[in-house]
Point group: C2
């Protein structure tokens, strides 16, 4: 096996420390904590850079292009029309998108066997777009993600392109998307707790 | 290795036959043919169920939920406002979404080494959400996908939620998304042709 066990163990330790630091400074999504700890409990897994899902207001040419985009607003819980309405008055450079994304979790495993176990658990919890993204001496990087993703176009440099009803509906849909993501996280937690494959 | 070489070889042969059948009945996206053939030329790879990217008009609660959704319109090339405008008059059950998706290619490799080579090539071509989805005796299933995805809300049961300008802008954005996907396919073809790792 190409994974360097010592290197992997060191990274796990560091990631564990960082987890608690991130929690302390409010950088970590609290919704995720229990799940991340379940991964850390597994002898051959740990996690890195994870997100429980979020809603953003984004000014950019297309909603997946980060380089040219500016995040105007970001929240990990449901939003209201009032919260974003004042932001709609400001001028737009490219296009203003209301984007909702599902959870993403990166799990680093020591072995291929553990990577496959994680994929199986993730599949059962509805993380259908999960996969092993890379394999190196640092471990197997497994990305867990759902298909949940929504980008509603709200405004262009020429003005608003949605009606008042359209704005309300876009906010409603984004909140639904976010909640669907949280549901999948709950299922993931349950599947992780039910799993005995590493014991 | 757990992959059954004979089973894998048989599946490759069948997939190759199906590729030409699909092409004949117009089921295969012609944009993809050259790329798929590049994969088949590799001794340890073949492809299954692939899509060059498409634009759909979808009636459903949320744009990634296939079960409750109905596809009203589907096209693998750019669309015009005229093409979909008449479809907007019809009643909507849930929500009407204009969805653009980037290309998705499933590659089945014989070895983990080849799977990693494919991931490296895909990464260079901008298929940044690629990963090994499963490993079984049939092979390593590698999904190549980009982050390109756009769903614009057009209508609810209560009526249109976009202005005329909004509709035009949504069509424009969907076409841009589609073309960005085709660009990535061109890059993938170039990277595959430049790659000598299997030779």
């Amino acid at each position: 096996m190409i994974v360097d066990r010592e290197l992997w163990r060191k990274e796990k330790e560091e990631s564990y420390k960082r987890l608690w630091e991130d929690l302390e400074i409010g950088y970590l999504d609290e919704d995720l904590l229990e799940i991340l700890l379940e991964f850390f409990k597994r002898p051959e897994s740990f996690t890195k850079s994870s997100c429980s899902g979020r809603i953003t207001l984004l000014d950019g040419p297309l909603p997946w292009e980060r380089r040219e985009s500016t995040i105007i607003f970001k929240k990990h819980s449901p939003i209201t029309v009032d919260e974003i309405e004042s932001l709609l008055d400001q001028p737009v450079l490219y296009r203003l998108w209301l984007v909702a994304t599902g959870p993403i979790i990166h799990v680093i495993t020591l072995t291929g066997r553990e990577a496959r176990r994680i994929l199986r658990i993730a599949g059962k919890a509805g993380f259908k777009h999960s996969g092993i993204m890379s394999i190196s001496k640092k471990g197997f990087i497994v990305e867990l993600r759902t298909g949940i993703r929504l980008a509603a176009l709200l405004k262009t440099p020429r003005g608003l392109v949605v009606s008042r009803e359209g704005l309300k509906e876009a906010v409603r849909a984004a909140n639904e998307a976010l909640m669907k993501g949280k549901e999948r996280l709950n299922r993931l937690l349950a599947e992780l707790r039910a799993d005995k494959s590493h014991k």
